[in-house]
């Protein structure tokens, strides 16, 4: 039997076990621990607060419903980020964003990457405080298209292999590779321009 005072000190695994038995307070403690990470992942994908709050809450509802399916193969936080990422991908598919994005994708897919600049020539964030680097990366990621950002997030933050990204996003491995390269090139270019702005 769990005691309320145990919740803050209990491990995630213990809280999950209690929550599986219907203990909503244990579940609330899990939410409290991980809500910022889940929200941040939704925010980086969706780029707006309303969607990020909505989808992060939806992810918690889904996790409550599917908690019995969580067998601990990964950490609870990893399992949760997968749920929120899937919801974001579904939402992005539904939204079918701007025409500008499709033009950019067409250029990317027909243009070939060999004509593009090298990814990073110099460290564009040299001399910056860590928080400032983080802020600039976030800002630069906000300028990527949804399609490019999704692939980048899945690879860099979720640590997924090309094959897994292709499956999750519903594209070929070749498209994953070109989108990833294009996203990195664009990100590097944005970071370089931030560096130039700073030195002027």
């Amino acid at each position: 039997m769990s005691l309320k005072s145990d919740y803050p000190s209990a491990a995630d695994e213990q809280l999950v076990a209690w929550a599986k038995d219907g203990d909503t307070e244990a579940f609330e403690e899990l939410i409290h621990r991980h809500r910022d990470k889940i929200y941040a992942r939704a925010m980086i994908m969706m780029r707006n607060e309303v969607d990020a709050v909505d989808l992060s809450q939806e992810a918690w509802v889904k996790s409550w419903q599917r908690l019995h399916q969580f067998q601990g193969e990964s950490s609870f936080a990893t399992w949760m980020t997968r749920i929120v990422i899937n919801l974001c991908l579904d939402q992005i598919r539904r939204q079918k964003r701007t025409r500008a994005e499709s033009i950019e994708e067409m250029q990317e897919e027909s243009g070939g990457v060999e004509r593009q600049m090298p990814v990073v020539e110099n460290n564009p964030t040299e001399g910056l405080e860590s928080e400032e680097v983080r802020r600039r990366i976030d800002e630069a990621m906000g300028k990527l298209t949804d399609a490019h950002r999704a692939v980048l997030v899945l690879h860099e933050f979720e640590g997924l292999e090309y094959k897994e990204i292709a499956k999750r996003v519903g594209i070929s491995i070749g498209t994953v590779m070109s989108r990833l390269f294009y996203a990195r090139r664009r990100l590097a270019s944005l970071l370089q321009s931030l560096k130039r702005e700073r030195s002027e």
């Binding site: 941040a40 809450q57 409550w64 990814v119 020539e121 292999e161 590779m177 390269f181 990195r184 590097a188």
Partner: protein, 150 residues
């Protein structure tokens, strides 16, 4: 000059996506190609930079309010599921009652159909047997007329 395929191979090399044979091929090229080495270094640098500076954000709502919103959603989903389960269960109950009745009706139709077909065929052919006998009884007092056909 780098081709698209080779550029993407360099990226796959950095991402650890190449098998041993392709990795060895890329390393052979890297040994003699300064541009390729520079690209690989740039890709690694960017990847490290992004991974170590993952953007962070905080839920713009209090713990209590955020949880109360989730609770409401869970309650709504559970109520919807309960309703749909009730409806499904009610449909099953109806089927339990209806199934035997439908079965009997189906058997009755199957039995009656050939006879009905035969009667219709006979009628359609304009045929009334020559052996058919009919009688009529009428009671004026009761205001009733009975036709008997055999």
């Amino acid at each position: 000059m780098k081709t698209t395929e080779f550029t993407l191979d360099l990226q796959a090399y950095v991402d650890g996506e190449l098998d041993a044979k392709h990795r060895a091929e890329v390393e052979r090229v890297l040994a003699n190609d300064a541009d390729a080495r520079s690209l690989v270094q740039g890709l690694r640098q960017l990847s490290d930079l992004v991974r170590t500076h993952e953007p962070i954000a905080q839920v713009p709502e209090s713990r209590e309010f955020y949880w109360s919103q989730i609770q409401k959603r869970i309650a709504a989903v559970e109520a919807r599921e309960a309703r749909s389960n009730r409806e499904a269960s009610s449909a099953v109950q109806w089927l339990r009652w209806l199934a035997p009745a439908l079965g009997v009706a189906a058997v009755a139709v199957m039995v009656a159909l050939p006879r009905w077909d035969a009667s219709v065929a006979e009628f359609a052919a304009g045929g009334v047997s020559e052996d058919t006998v009919s009688m009529t009884f009428r009671s004026d007092a009761d205001g009733v007329t009975i036709h008997w056909i055999n």
